[in-house]
Each structure stands twice: as structure tokens, then as C-alpha cells.
Symmetry: C2
Amino acid sequence: MSRPLRADAQRNRAQVLQVAARTFAEEGLSVPVHEIARRAGVGTGTVSRHFPTKESLFAAVLLDRMEQLVRTAGELADDGEPGEAFFAFFALMVEEGSANKGIVDALAGAGFDFQAVADDDSHDVMGAWEKLLRCAQDAGAVRADADISDVKALLTGCLDRERQAPDPDARARMLAIVGEGLRT
Amino acid sequence: MSRPLRADAQRNRAQVLQVAARTFAEEGLSVPVHEIARRAGVGTGTVSRHFPTKESLFAAVLLDRMEQLVRTAGELADDGEPGEAFFAFFALMVEEGSANKGIVDALAGAGFDFQAVADDDSHDVMGAWEKLLRCAQDAGAVRADADISDVKALLTGCLDRERQAPDPDARARMLAIVGEGLRT
DNA sequence: GAATATACGGGACGGCCGTCCCGGTTGTCC
DNA sequence: GGACAACCGGGACGGCCGTCCCGTATATTC
């Protein structure tokens, strides 16, 4: 282990992370790193010291969000009916994607290895999600042959619909369609 | 109008188009134009003279394929039950996407304006597809509130599933799920 | 408050890629 | 078969972007 970061370095790191989170969410992964540095009011060197590559910066941002989502998934799994929990989390992910272009890009596989980030030991989103699915299937609420990749693909579809034309009606309709398809 | 192309120019154009079609289908839109020129055995200048931009090259490739797909859609619409025709065409598109990474990229909106190309007057894929949808809805085979954007999004989802791990079982499952969701 | 390590800024670098241009070549037409 | 226009090849150019480096500034420690 190394000694703790200097105070200003900590501030800068946090600042970069926050700006990056907002920027990636609003504009997707195509934003240049220079731009994030500029908006954070630091030099590009500062960014690249804390996060050697763009991918590592995005991974750090994503991991933050992931933690919350996994926690939510856990809570949903704990209380209430398994089927409801599964579909509620699915809807939550759609909402998240709608507000977070970065996640959509990652899910769409636009250059980043989402799988690798999602599979990180301490932030096992896919695992948590899969558990929700399995519970719902055991409870007979979701067709037994569906796997987590199917679910992820359906999520991608819902997010694509959002991207074409964000519209509350359309979102509800897509959730209904997917729901009908997935239920036993 | 200009005079007809010189014989060698026609040959080169056709050659580039053919190589581009195969290459885009196999590797997606990220292939450099230089690489297509190299494989076609021509200089980059030759490519860029016939197709001023990469987008125009891809559009030309896509339009070829589109024509066939639209024709197929028309045939499906003409004979047989409307619901069957709609779902058959959907399955056909999934198959097409599975064999054609370029189309997947275009559908996923990876930098190219698929809509613009698809809406070309003489190759109105979306229109043809929408007609299939409307017929199926009129016949009561597909839920009435779904629109063509929903269908396109669901297709994107199916194609995403293919990309994660191509698998005949998974494809059939996805089609079943989407079918269940879309039927009345 | 001085000494030292640590971090900052932002310019430089290199790779990638699409586009353009020019000297040479090859069809075409009389 | 000769002259001219059309076309070819591929190198040059410019923009973009991620990464690295170094002279400078600042926090930390004693």
C-alpha cells in the first residue's frame, strides 16, 4: 500500500470523478477526456495520473453507480414477491439507462468491456441480477428457459427504444411487451 | 446526367462495392476505408472518388441489401396470414443481422444515420415493415398499441443477444419471448 | 519557515482515419 | 495508332484523441 493521497490530489480526484459521472451520463462515452479535464478545471495530466486510461476512468464512474444498483437489487430480493422484484429491477435499469447514456453505451458494447467491469468481485451486478431472475423463475413468475443474457438483451432493446424517442408511454409499453414475453 | 463510366471504372466500382459489402457484413462498420481499398486491390483514391465519404459507401452497400429485404417483405405481405408474415419478417431481420454486422452497427446507431438511409424513397424499408405491422395489427395478431419503433427496438434486443453469444437456441427463445410479448 | 516529495498543468507526441490531390497510366474515340 | 480525357494509385494532409512527460507550484513534515 502507498501512503494516503495529498489533500489537493484527493479533491481533484473526486472532482474529476464527479464531472466524469455527470458528463458520461449526459453525453455518453464519446466525450473526449480533454473535455472532462476542462470541465473539471484540471489539466489532462491530472486526469490521466489518477485514471491511466479512459476506460479506467469510466470503470471507476460505473462502479460507483453499480454499487447502488446492486444494493437496490438486494433489497428488492429480500422483501416482497420474487416476480415483482425481478420486474421492478428491470424497470429500474431501464430508468437508469434513460438517464445515463454512458451505461447505454457500455451495454451496447461501444468499445468498452462492460462485462469485465460488471463482473468485478465487489460489484457483481450481473450476479445480483441473475439471482433475482432465478428467484422469479423458481417462483414460477418468469419462463424457466430464459437466461440472464436474454434479459440483458431485452434491456438493450428497451434502452434503444428510449434513444429513438424518449417517451413515457413508449417506455411503459416496452415494459409491458417484455413483461408479457417473459412471464410464464 | 453525365456520360457512362469508363469500363475499368465500372469494374472497380463494382469490385469495391462487393468487397465493402462482405467486409462490413463480417466485421462491422469499424473497418477503415483503407483496408477495404487494400482488399479490393485498388487505391484509396479510387474508393473515395466513387464514394466521397465512408458513409456514402456504406449507404450504397446497405441499399443493395435493403432492396432485397423490402422485396421479401412485400412478398410476405401479399400471400398468407398477416400475423405470420409479420413475425416471419421479424425472424428474417434477426437472421440478417446475425450474418451482417454492418446492419447491426447501423441499427445500433454507431455513427451512421440508419434512419436516413432506410427512409430513402426507393428503398423504404421502414415503410414496408410498418405496413406489415399494421396489417398484422388490423388482423388482430399483434397488440394494437405497438409501433414500428418498438418493433425496431425489440429487433435491436434480439441482435444484441446474438452478439453476446450466437446460439440457435437463444435466437429461437428470443423470438418466442418477443412473439409472446407482441401478440394480443 | 525551509526542505522535500508529491501533484499540477498543458503542451508534445504518436497513432488512427477519412479526405484530397497530383503525377502517371490506361481506356476511348476519331 | 495517336491524342485526349478519364481514371488510377497511394502518399500527403489535417483533425481527433488518448497518453506521457517535464518544468513549475504547492502541500506536508520537521
